[in-house]
Symmetry: C3
Subunit: 326 residues, 3 copies
C-alpha cells in the first residue's frame, strides 16, 4: 500500500503546493480532495463561526488542519496520502470541536495543538486495523480523540465545559418544532453546516456549493441526506430543538455522500441502498444521543462512521468502485 | 468460503423448500438448523406471546424471520448459508424484541421491517470481521441493531418505550425471591423461554422439546445452562425479580449449547469448560445489566456473545469440532 | 508463533523453577520478566496492603498469580510464554483488584480463583485478535474481566461493593490539593504504587527499586511517567483527591515504560514520542473516569492499554525494537 508512495513528493512547507494540500484536507471531511471545495468549506466555517459569535471555532479549524498536516510531514507518512488531503480532515474537526464545546482558554489551545496532531497517527493506526476489511477509519480518529478530551473536561476545571450539555439520565425532551417551509429549509441547511459543528443555513449553502464544484453527486446526496434525515426525525418525533439545530442532519449527510457516490457508483440500486443507510443513521444518531446522555457529551460524527461501516463491511457488489479514502 | 456455494440452489420464494429454510432460521437461534425445531420454537413463541397478552411479539417473530430471509434472497448471498437457516435467526429476534419493549404502533412495525432485514447484511459484515478469528457473529447482529433502536426510542416519541425499564443509576434492587421447588422449576424453564424474550414455563418446555428433536445434547446443555445460572444467581444474591423472570437464564442457555455441543465435541473436558463458561456468563450478564442501567435498555443476548467469544478465541484444543455457524 | 515453543520445557509444579516463573509473572505487570523485580513488587504489595489495613489484597495477589499460572500449565499453553512470566501478570492484578473493591467474603474469593484463572485464556484469545496488528493485549485481560465482576457486584448482594465509589452523574469534584514538595513526592510515588492498586509511597519506592534491578530505563521512565502525569493533572486542575491518591499516575507509568523502553529503543526521538503518550494517557484516564462515573467502577489500567495501542498501532519507525510481550 505504501510502496507506490515512492513516486510522490511532498511540496515544501508553506509553498503554494502546501496550501493546495492543506485545502484538500478540509475538503476531505466530505470526501472531496479538491482545493476549491476546501476554500468554500473554510469560508463557510468563518462565516458561521463569526456570525454566531464564536470566532475561536474558525481559528481552531485553521490551527487544527495545520497541526495534523504538519504531523504527516514530521512522521514521514507516504506523500501520496498527504497530497490527497488525508492529513487534514480529522485535524480540522478537532479544531472546530474543542472551541465549540470548551472555553476559550490557553489550556484548551494546548489541547487543540496536541490532539489535532494526534489524529494523524491515530488515523494511520486505525486504518491498519480496518485495512483487512477494506474500509478506512473515516472521521473516527477525530471522534475517538475528541470523546476522550470532552469526557476529560468534565473532570478538569482547567478545561471549562460550558459548551457541553448537562449530564442527565435520558428520556426528557420536547418535540415542539416549527414546521413551516422556511423553518424546514433552515433546519435542512443547518444539518449540512453541522458537519463542521456550525449552525448556519448560509454556511450549509456554502458547503453545498463547495461540493458542487468537486462532484455534482456529492452535493445532491448531501442535500438528500439532510432532507431525508429531517423527515425521518420529524416522523419519529425526535427532540425538537436538536432537529432545528441540524443535529440529526450531519451524520446522514456524510453517510449519504459515502454510500451514494464515494464508495459506490451512482445508480438506482446504490441509491436505494443509500436511502436505507440514511434511515439507519438517524436511528444510530438518536441511539447514541441516549447512550451519551448520562455523561453529557455529543456523538460527533460517530453515527456516520458506524452506519457507513455497517453498510460497507458486507462488501455488497452493487457495482462497487475500487476506491478508498485512507 | 463462498465459492462452494455454487453447487447449492435456493428454493423458489414461498415454496415448501422456502418454508423449510424459514423454520431452520428459527431453529438456528439455538444453533439447530432443523425444521421441526423451528416449528416447536414458533409454537412456543405463539403460546407464550398470546398467554401473556402480547400477540404482537408472535407476529413480530413471523415478520422478522420473513424479512431477514427475503433480504438474503434479495442480496444474492450464498445459497448454502440460506439453506442452513442462517438468514433467519437474527431477524426473528428483532421481531420478538421490538414489540416486547416498544408500543404496538405502525412506526414500530416500520422499524421491525427495516431493521430485521438489516440484520442479514450486518451479520455478513460482522462475520467478515470475525472470520480471521474462526468465530462467527452469533446473535450479535440482532443485539447491536436492537440496542440502537431501543436507545433511539428513548428520544423518539414516535416509538413508545413503555416496555423498557426506567433509566436509573445502578445499585437499587431487592433479592427477595421464592425458592420452593415449584417456583425454582418455573424460573428454570422461564430462563429457557427468555431466549426469545418470553416469560412462560410451558414455552421453555416447548423449546426443550424442539431442541431434543434435533440434538439430545443441545437439550441437555440448555437445561443445565439455565439451572446452573439460576443457582449461581441465587448464590450471589442477584436481583430477585430478574431471577424469577428468567433474565439470568437465557444467555447462559446459549453459552451452554454453544460450548457444550455446537463448537466442541461432548466429553468431560469440554463439559468442565462449558460449566466455567456458564459461570462467566452470569457475571457478564449481571455486569452488563449494571452498565446499561443509566440508559435503561436490556442486554439482550449480548452476554452470551461476549462470553462465548472469550471462550472460543483462545482456540483451545479440547477435541474441537471443525464447525462454524456463520 | 507457537512452533518455537517446542524447545522449551516447563519446570515441575512448585519446584524452584516454578517459583522463578511465578515471580517473573509479577514482574511482567511492568514488562520485566525478572525474578528479583517480581520479589520486590510482591514485597511492596505486602507492605502497602498491610500498612493500609487490607491484608486481603496481598493474599489476593499471591492467589491470583498462582491460579493464572497454573491455568497456563493446565491448558498446555506454550512453555516459552510461561517461562517469560506471561501467565502471571493479569492474574495478580485480578487478585489485587477484587479484595480492594469488594468485601472480604468467601464468594469474593471464589471469584478471585475463577476469574484470575480466566485471564490466562482471555489473554491468549485477545492476543489472537491483536496479533495481526503487532501488539499484544497488555493488561486488558485483567481490565475486561475485572470490569465485568465489579459491574456485576453492583447487582449482587453476595459481592459487597463497599470499596467502590457511588454511581453518580459526572462533574462534581474538588480540585483542592496540597502542593508542598513533600506532598508532591508522596503523590508521585503513590502514582507508581497504584499500578498494583495500592496507595503507599514506600511501596512505590520498592517498585522503582524492583524496576532498577531489571532495567534502568524502566525505572527512569516509570519515575518520569508518574511525575509528568502529576504535573499535567495539576495543570489541568483535575480531581484533587484522585491526584493525591496517585490515581492519575499508574496508567501513565505503564505507558511510559511501554513506549519509552519496552517497545522502542531509548533515544531522543522515542523519548519525545513517549512524553506525548504520557500526555494523552492523562486525558484518556480523566475521560474514562467520567465515562464510568454513572456506574461507579474504576478504569483500572484501561487508559494505559488504549493509549499504548494508539501509539503502537501506527507502526512508527523510530528505531523500533522487534519485541513483543505476548
Amino acid at each position: 500500500m505504501e510502496t507506490s508512495a515512492m513516486t510522490f513528493k511532498l511540496p515544501p512547507l508553506f509553498s503554494l503546493g502546501f496550501f493546495k494540500l492543506y485545502f484538500r484536507g478540509i475538503g476531505q471531511v466530505m470526501f472531496q480532495g479538491n482545493v476549491w471545495t476546501g476554500l468554500f468549506f473554510l469560508a463557510g466555517i468563518f462565516y458561521g463561526a463569526y456570525t454566531s459569535g464564536m470566532p475561536a471555532v474558525a481559528w481552531g479549524a485553521v490551527v487544527g488542519t495545520l497541526m495534523s498536516t504538519l504531523t504527516g510531514y514530521l512522521l514521514n507518512y507516504p506523500a501520496e496520502k498527504g497530497l490527497k488531503g488525508l492529513w487534514g480532515f480529522n485535524g480540522i474537526l478537532v479544531g472546530c470541536a474543542l472551541p465549540t464545546f470548551l472555553g476559550n482558554v490557553p489550556l484548551m489551545w494546548l489541547a487543540v495543538v496536541v490532539f489535532s496532531s494526534m489524529t494523524t497517527w491515530v488515523m494511520v493506526g486505525l486504518n491498519h486495523l480496518l485495512a483487512p476489511y477494506k474500509v478506512s477509519s473515516f472521521t473516527f480518529p477525530f471522534v475517538l480523540t475528541t470523546w476522550f478530551i470532552l469526557l476529560a473536561a468534565r473532570t478538569m476545571h482547567g478545561l471549562p465545559d460550558a459548551g457541553l450539555g448537562t449530564p442527565e439520565l435520558p428520556g426528557h425532551f420536547s418535540i415542539v418544532i416549527a414546521t413551516d417551509p422556511q423553518s424546514l429549509a433552515i433546519y435542512w441547511l443547518a444539518g449540512i453546516s453541522q458537519v463542521f459543528l456550525l449552525n448556519s443555513w448560509l454556511t450549509g449553502l456554502l458547503f453545498l456549493i463547495g461540493l458542487l464544484i468537486s462532484n455534482r453527486w456529492a452535493a445532491i446526496w448531501a442535500a438528500i441526506g439532510s432532507a431525508l434525515a429531517l423527515g425521518i426525525a420529524i416522523l419519529y418525533q425526535c427532540n425538537g430543538s436538536d432537529i432545528a439545530n441540524g443535529l440529526f442532519g450531519f451524520s446522514p449527510v456524510l453517510t449519504a455522500i459515502a454510500l451514494g457516490t464515494t464508495f459506490y457508483r451512482v445508480n438506482w440500486r446504490t441509491a436505494l441502498w443509500t436511502i436505507v443507510g440514511i434511515f439507519a443513521t438517524v436511528f444510530i444518531q438518536a441511539g447514541m444521543d441516549t447512550f451519551f446522555a448520562p455523561v453529557g457529551i455529543p456523538t460527533l460524527t460517530g453515527p456516520f462512521c458506524i452506519a457507513t461501516w455497517l453498510f460497507l463491511w458486507p462488501h455488497l457488489k452493487l457495482d462497487k468502485k475500487i476506491l478508498q479514502q485512507g
